[in-house]
Symmetry: C2
Subunit: 311 residues, 2 copies
């Protein structure tokens, strides 16, 4: 086995405090935010450089486990004011969060400043923030090998021109099926993916939660199922953990071939499935490389069949 030196992954996203109620319990003021989940997941594969902002009320000691895992927090701005907080509830179906409260705090004035030593990161993930800020990040970095972005319904509605502009500057976008339909005004996901690819990205990763994920490339469609867990504890952060596994794996191998990217999607699906097994990033921090490899094998078994028909 060749030992590869993983490339660095730069992620710009939110670092929040979440309060979550699920049918199985509640957790108050736990680590949350797209940047946190992404970093927790990606750090299993590659060195991560996190850019975000917290207020002076943030329990920064809770970020120590991330630092211990090789997440460089030099880009985490400490601003005067309160941290970004989200409070949400999942009902029994666990499919969609009901937002009870969003408090932006210092996040509302966030202007990402990329530290000099992060500007050459070969892999960049623009987590779900204002497309104008995502564009500002791209002005500060030096020709990354792969730029990926996420987005959400709020930006599709309020920042459509900027989001479409962003599409022209990224190699890959991850978004969920509802967001893909909303952005493209196409109900059919194959058509939606084509609409997006015509505006820039070579790759479109459409996440469907418990229904798995599609990766569209210029010449193929790949589908990875979600791992069918018997109990989903807290769905928060599954999508960002998916992205973290996906980008982290690519950064680890440095291989952007179709073969490698398909594996990366499955790694992403595995990481998303771990994320929902406990509150916050707790499960992501305790799993081992062996756990991840075992889950990837389980996903492989889930879809394995011999395609040669007999009769």
């Amino acid at each position: 086995m060749t030992v590869l030196t993983p490339s660095a992954v730069l992620v710009v996203g939110s670092v929040a405090l979440d309060s979550v109620e699920t049918p199985f319990g509640r957790a108050d003021d736990v680590l949350g935010g797209s940047g946190t989940f992404f970093s927790s997941s990606a750090s299993h594969f590659a060195p991560v450089q996190l850019v975000g902002v917290v207020g002076d009320d943030y329990p920064v000691d809770k970020l120590q486990p991330l630092a211990d895992r090789g997440v460089d927090l030099a880009g985490l701005e400490h601003a005067t004011g309160t941290s970004f907080r989200w409070r949400g509830r999942y009902r029994h179906d666990l499919n969609s969060a009901e937002t009870l409260e969003t408090h932006l705090g210092v996040f509302s004035n966030f202007r990402p400043k990329i530290p000099e030593q992060f500007k050459n990161a070969p892999f960049v993930f623009l987590a779900n923030i204002d497309p104008r800020l995502q564009l500002q990040v791209l002005e500060q970095v030096n020709k990354p090998r792969l730029v990926a972005c996420d987005t959400m319904n709020f930006w599709i509605e309020s920042r459509r021109p900027e989001l479409v502009e962003l599409l022209g500057h990224v190699d890959l976008i991850t978004l969920n099926d509802g967001e893909a339909r909303q952005l493209t005004e196409r109900n059919n996901l194959v058509q939606a993916a084509r609409w997006i690819m015509e505006r820039g990205p070579r790759y479109v990763l459409i996440k469907k939660g418990e229904h798995g994920a599609f990766m569209f490339t210029p010449s193929s469609i790949f589908f990875a199922p979600a791992f069918p867990l018997e109990s989903v504890f807290d769905p928060t952060g599954a999508g960002d953990s998916f992205a973290g596994g996906f980008i982290g794996y690519l950064a680890a191998t440095g291989d952007l071939s179709e073969r490698s990217m398909r594996r990366a999607v499955v790694v992403g699906s595995a990481m998303g499935s771990f994320a929902v097994e406990k509150f916050s990033n707790a499960r992501l921090l305790e799993i081992t490389r062996a756990d991840i490899e075992a889950r990837v094998q389980e996903i492989a078994q889930l879809v394995a069949f011999d395609a040669k028909l007999e009769e």
Copy 2:
């Protein structure tokens, strides 16, 4: 290649006249019903014996293509009265039908009578009809190798005790995810499948429409994606076409190993994908064995990945 003699498949279900509106057009009084879609699909693999009822208004000449494909219509009762008609509409998302009109006609007094020469069919599919009638069918047949049934929300609500009784007499049930949740009062599909298996069936096939299908067995879970079509023309009959491909393939091979059943699920998914490409059973009647094999290969490509991680 061993040439196998396919076993006969007995199906008891509805033979209807459908009027369907989709965003792409409309079709009036076309062949419909669970028995019709199942037979159109299964007849690609095995001889089919159809039991159902039509009124004296039914355009029986439209069934000739089925007879030409080896569907034995000796069990199709011709009753005095009007045929079962369904009128429905699909909106742009194509995911759920809006029923505009249901006219049961002669179907409301249907009591399935299995012709003597059908009673030894090794494979039996009890399509979506009243569980009391499904039980009556089982009283008339002689120890089939595999009995499968379908059901729907209407029976789950109105005939729960009979449906649960039926579970004790079938080897396999096919139902969609919403129905599985409704029947078992479990939101999690793994738990729902276990609930059902505890009541009889060794196999539970949960169809999720565009999101694919799960097959639960006592020792494994298999997932087959739906083929991502760029245009879905008319979703009517996809589930019954899926079941027809699944049971038909098993009857063709006579092989109930896990390996064969996984392939059968994929064949089912392929047949479901063809069904929705045209109105009624039109596409199912025109496809060839080569078309089916090509689509199975396309589904294999869709989920193909190398599970060995590099780093």
